[in-house]
């Protein structure tokens, strides 16, 4: 039963290379603005991502007002609706979640958790953020050009993305494509850093199979992103060429509002393949870091080793690999050769197996634990619940036959928001409540955190659970209004109104979070260095918040990241840098750990 599953306890390899001197900024500007310290870059990434995410949240509320109370408020017209659909989706998926998980958490946690002083290429890492910021600004600028932002849907399908009849076919789509290209350039610089740092800069003793799952998740997600984003990059470039100089990569011979066009021979479906070759791994680029982080949060607060660590690592790797051969499940009804359906349905449902294993192992981590229901922990548990729900509905859509009635309906909206929005965002919150004490030295307020959790968790479930059933009824997505639709029940409009109200409740709930984030910085309870009594290296730094360079002497790692409640050791956790000899005395007459 309890055979040792991790590397032999006491092995620490000898030092092979001398440490290099870290770059130290000399000016205020170099320390806080054009900073090369991964921790500062992480904060810059996070604040920018959250800032633009709030914009996307407001867009979704404006859309919900129209859907819940059609034409009552007259704030948006059909053009705005499509523009907001597009910008909301693109911002949330790429500029918020991808940037926050990799640029934010990745930058903060990778060097700390693997025991490095900084990223391997700090200068390139800094450039990465500034290019990202420019990408965000270009994206925002697209709202203000003539014709406004593109309204092509976040998938930007041609021909419609660059054809008359769609909002933003001039400046809007051009700036969107330029912004995406910039984002990818910026991300690549950061991403190379994350991968190389994980592979090359781990401290002595930190073997791959001793790494916390957070790092495994972020690492694998970065590998996926480095392989997947180029597909989006080339599609953006090709579409720009179609738009600007009239090439026909994606544009077939076609009519546009009754007029002949000069396009000929392009393939709209080619774009879809490229887009989803990026787009599906993108789902896991967001999900894998969340999987990793939630594993660590659950383990720490349940005072118990993550269940089935090795299986968890292999599941992350397997999901990452499989995610590259399922993309066309987004295209079952796209008009591609329908025989593809057999292959992609099979691969898609196979990916459910490693994903289910992860869920079982999270739940089994709670089993026989000693569960502290702290704020990060309840967010993590909330995640398990919403993720089970969202994963299950994926089995409907992934099964090609069921996709026929459900594709392009509200079922799809409900599914991907539950699995890709609510679930990862709950993890984002869990992570912020969990690591805030390390980043600032202060706890976040518990009461505000509880309010935030309940409004967010219950509110989101109230939005998305019933929405699936609108999809069963056949109600299509991306509709500005429904008018008289025969098969739509009259009560569907009432449900839409209720969903809108729930959306406003969730948005209101975020105020508790932002206030908490702000006020705790000044008035939060002092947290000390390791408030959750966790084992991983970021909690073992000599200073909190960690200073430039993270550690005095680089820690030596003797054990895996999950030595909680180890038999024979009195203290219920053994940090990774504690040697077997020291461990015997842990908790015996030593100083009390801060709580």
């Amino acid at each position: 039963m309890s055979d040792v599953t991790h590397d032999a306890l006491d092995y620490v390899p000898p030092l092979e290379v001398e440490e290099e001197e870290l770059y130290h900024a000399k000016t205020w500007l170099g320390k806080y603005v054009f900073c090369q310290d991964a921790k500062v870059i992480a904060i810059q990434y996070s604040l920018t991502a959250i800032g633009i995410g709030v914009v996307a949240l407001v867009l979704s509320l404006l859309m919900r007002l129209q859907l819940g109370f059609p034409h009552e408020f007259s704030i948006i017209d059909p053009s705005n609706y499509l523009q907001f659909v597009t910008m909301h989706g693109m911002i949330m998926v790429i500029y918020l979640l991808t940037a926050l998980f990799l640029g934010g958490f990745g930058n903060y946690l990778i060097p700390l958790m693997v025991g490095a002083r900084d990223m391997v290429f700090p200068y390139v890492n800094m450039i990465s953020y500034w290019v990202y910021l420019v990408a965000v600004l270009v994206l925002v600028a697209s709202f203000f050009v003539p014709g406004g932002a593109t309204g092509a849907g976040w998938t930007l399908y041609p021909p419609q993305a660059i054809s008359p009849g769609t909002p933003g076919i001039d400046g809007g789509i051009i700036l969107m494509l330029v912004s995406l290209a910039l984002f990818i350039i910026g991300f690549t610089m950061g991403g190379l850093n994350y991968v190389v740092t994980v592979l090359q800069a781990r401290t002595r003793g930190m073997s791959l199979m001793r790494m916390p799952l957070t790092i495994w998740g972020i690492f694998m997600a970065t590998v996926l992103a480095l392989l997947a984003f180029p597909a989006l990059f080339v599609s953006a470039i090709m579409m720009l060429l179609d738009k600007l100089i009239g090439t026909s990569f994606f544009m077939p011979a076609m009519i546009s509002l009754g007029e002949q066009t000069s396009f000929d021979g392009g393939s709209p479906i080619l774009f879809q393949h490229l887009f989803w070759f990026f787009g599906h791994p993108e789902v896991y680029i967001v999900a894998l870091p969340a999987f990793g982080i939630v594993s660590d949060v659950l383990s720490v607060h349940a005072r118990k080793a993550i269940f089935g660590y090795r299986m968890m690592v292999w599941a992350i790797v397997a999901i990452g690999a499989l995610s590259f051969i399922v993309w066309a499940h987004h295209m079952y009804v796209s008009g591609m050769n329908p025989y593809f359906g057999f292959f992609f349905a099979t691969t898609t449902l196979i990916i459910a197996v490693p994903t289910a294993i992860k869920v079982y192992n999270w739940v089994l981590t709670l089993w026989r634990g000693n569960i502290k229901l702290t704020v990060p922990m309840i967010f993590a548990i909330g995640f398990i619940f919403t993720f089970i729900n969202g994963g299950i509905t994926g089995l409907f859509l992934g099964n090609v036959t069921i996709d026929l009635p459900l594709s392009d309906t509200y079922f799809v909206i409900a599914h991907f928001h539950m699995v890709m929005a609510v679930s990862p965002v709950l993890v984002v919150f869990a992570a912020i409540y969990h690591w805030y004490p390390k980043i600032t030295g202060k706890f976040m307020d518990d009461t505000l955190g509880q309010w935030h959790f309940w409004l967010t968790f219950l509110g989101s479930y109230a939005i998305y659970l019933p929405m699936h059933y609108l999809g069963f009824e056949g109600i299509p997505r991306r509709y500005f209004a429904y008018g008289e639709t025969d098969f739509m029940s009259a009560s569907a409009a009432d449900l839409n109104a209720a969903i809108t109200i729930a959306a406003f409740v969730v948005a209101f709930g975020q105020l508790f979070f932002f206030w908490n984030l702000f006020i705790s910085y000044f008035r939060g309870k002092e947290a000390g260095g390791n408030p959750w009594e966790a084992t991983t290296l970021e909690w073992q730094t000599p200073h909190t918040p960690p200073r430039h360079g993270n550690f005095d002497d680089l820690p030596l790692v003797y054990r895996w990241a999950y030595d909680y409640s180890v038999p024979g050791v009195e203290q219920d956790y053994v940090p990774q840098n504690v040697s077997p000899a020291e461990a015997e005395n842990l908790g015996k007459g030593g100083g009390e750990q801060p709580t």
Partner: protein, 465 residues
């Protein structure tokens, strides 16, 4: 422990919601009960997992809640348990996938005896083509598409001469016969979907996709476009009418073939002039309109638009709403044009009347109107010049008439009739003008547009590029 209670309540609530929800699959009207069956199987398997895993989690949170005198178990791994769970999951996944693949195999294989219809998508409009007596579709080419040849038919292809062309978005199909739909698009992506038939498929310019089903219930079923196709996406509606075979045959026979459409004589303005006398009483001898009689200007209006409105007045699609008093006056007048030839003749005559500018009578905020007009411009053209391809007339109409019609559309007086497929689209768009002031604003802006007199048509489309 609140969390445990809430999780349990959510599990129960979710299951109850599922069984009590009034929102669920629409009653099936096709052969695809196997799709519904696959959904049921998936619900049973996943529902079980949902209940078991979440219940176990709730129990674990309760049972192993924090106690400072207790320690968690140290059990990093349990190979046996993990493999058992993996095995069960694999079996469950196979149980869902197998029926899915079998049904999909059925879906991709069209029955031998299926008859065919072509569905043509274009921005915000459906049209249909039957292969005619010879059972063969004539060749079509995107580059042949024009106002006179909306299907892009190749003129000389003998297979195409007897093709039955249905330009209106209503399709009739016979019951209990497998039907293969060949799908193509003239412009952007579309998706033909009928909720009650369960199946849907994208329409892609440059290729022909397909789907098949067998209607098993008489009735009318709404077609929706379910692939984002631009600003009018939500108004792109059509209708499938499932008929008994004989009703279907009769309907099909009454529809014109391509050859017949080519052979239709043009209207004669000489004959039309005589018939126009009746119109002149209200609309004026030059078609300049008369606000005192509530008769709008008709000179310069597109023939296809006038033809459709006359049809609507004659068949009660327009002018029959109790609040449409002026439309009610027009309806009996339209009846005096007894057949298509008469309609064509009078339209030919109207076409000869000189276009005159209407007096401007509506005041509004032009700047605000310009803002609102961005929505209108997608169909009616950015200069108000009208775009035939999206069935949108030019807007060089009397401004008082525009105001009245916008209110009619908005208030369900016009465009609410089931057969007014284009009026329905305008009604859904006019809904954004809830405030009367907005109507005045947008009409005030329309007054500043050059309309069809201006630099119109292709040129204006190009100017936006």
């Amino acid at each position: 422990m609140v969390l445990v209670v809430v999780v349990v309540l959510l599990i129960i609530g979710t299951v109850l919601f599922h069984f009590l929800s009034p929102w669920y699959l629409t009653p099936l009207a096709s052969n695809w009960d196997t799709i519904d069956l696959t959904i049921d199987v998936t619900f049973w398997v996943t529902g079980l997992v949902f209940i078991v895993v979440n219940s176990f989690m709730a129990w674990a949170i309760y049972k192993y809640r924090y106690d400072k005198n207790r320690r968690a178990e140290y059990e990093p791994e349990n190979k046996k348990l993990e493999w058992i769970l993996t095995g069960f999951t694999a079996v469950g996944v196979a149980a869902m996938l197998a029926p899915g693949l079998f049904v999909w195999a059925e879906f991709v294989t069209v029955p031998e005896d299926a008859h065919e219809v072509e569905v043509v998508g274009q921005q915000w409009h459906w049209s249909f083509r039957y292969p005619g007596k010879d059972g063969k579709f004539g060749a079509v080419e995107s580059r042949y598409v024009s106002e006179d040849n909306p299907f892009g038919m190749e003129k000389d292809d003998p297979n195409g001469q007897d093709d039955v062309l249905i330009f209106s978005p209503t399709l009739h199909v016979p019951i209990n016969k497998p039907l293969k739909m060949n799908l193509r698009s003239k412009d952007v992506l579309h998706n033909v979907a009928v909720a009650q038939f369960r199946v849907k498929m994208d329409m892609v310019p440059g290729l022909v996709s397909y789907l098949w089903f067998e209607p098993i219930k008489l009735g009318e079923y709404e077609i929706l476009c379910e692939e984002l196709c631009g600003i009018g996406h939500h108004t792109m509606r059509g209708m499938v009418v499932v008929d008994e075979q004989e009703d279907f045959d009769a309907w099909l026979d009454s529809q014109p073939t391509y050859a017949e459409i080519l052979g239709t004589p043009k209207g004669d303005p000489q004959i039309g002039q005589a018939q126009y006398a009746a119109c002149a009483a209200c609309h004026g001898f030059q078609g300049e309109g008369n606000p005192l009689m509530n008769a709008p200007k008709i000179a310069g209006q597109e023939g296809w638009y006038i033809r459709r409105q006359i049809e609507y007045f004659k068949t009660g699609v327009r002018g029959a709403h109790p609040s449409d008093e002026f439309g009610a006056q027009m309806a009996p007048m339209a009846m005096t044009l007894i057949d298509d030839a008469a309609v064509n003749n009078v339209i030919a005559y109207i076409d000869t009347l000189p276009q005159v500018d209407s007096p401007q009578t509506v005041e509004g905020d032009v700047e605000r109107g310009k803002d609102i007009y961005t929505t209108c411009g997608h169909c009616h053209g950015y200069e108000g010049e009208g775009v035939f391809a999206v069935n949108a007339p030019h807007l060089a109409m009397d401004d008082w008439y525009l105001v009245r019609q916008l209110k009619n559309f908005r208030d369900g007086v016009r465009g609410a009739h089931r057969d007014d497929k284009y009026g329905m689209q305008m009604a859904m768009m006019a809904a954004i003008l809830q405030d009367d002031q907005r109507i005045n604003d947008v009409v005030a802006y329309i007054n500043t547009l050059p309309g069809p007199q201006g630099d119109m048509g292709a040129a204006s489309v190009a100017s936006r590029e």
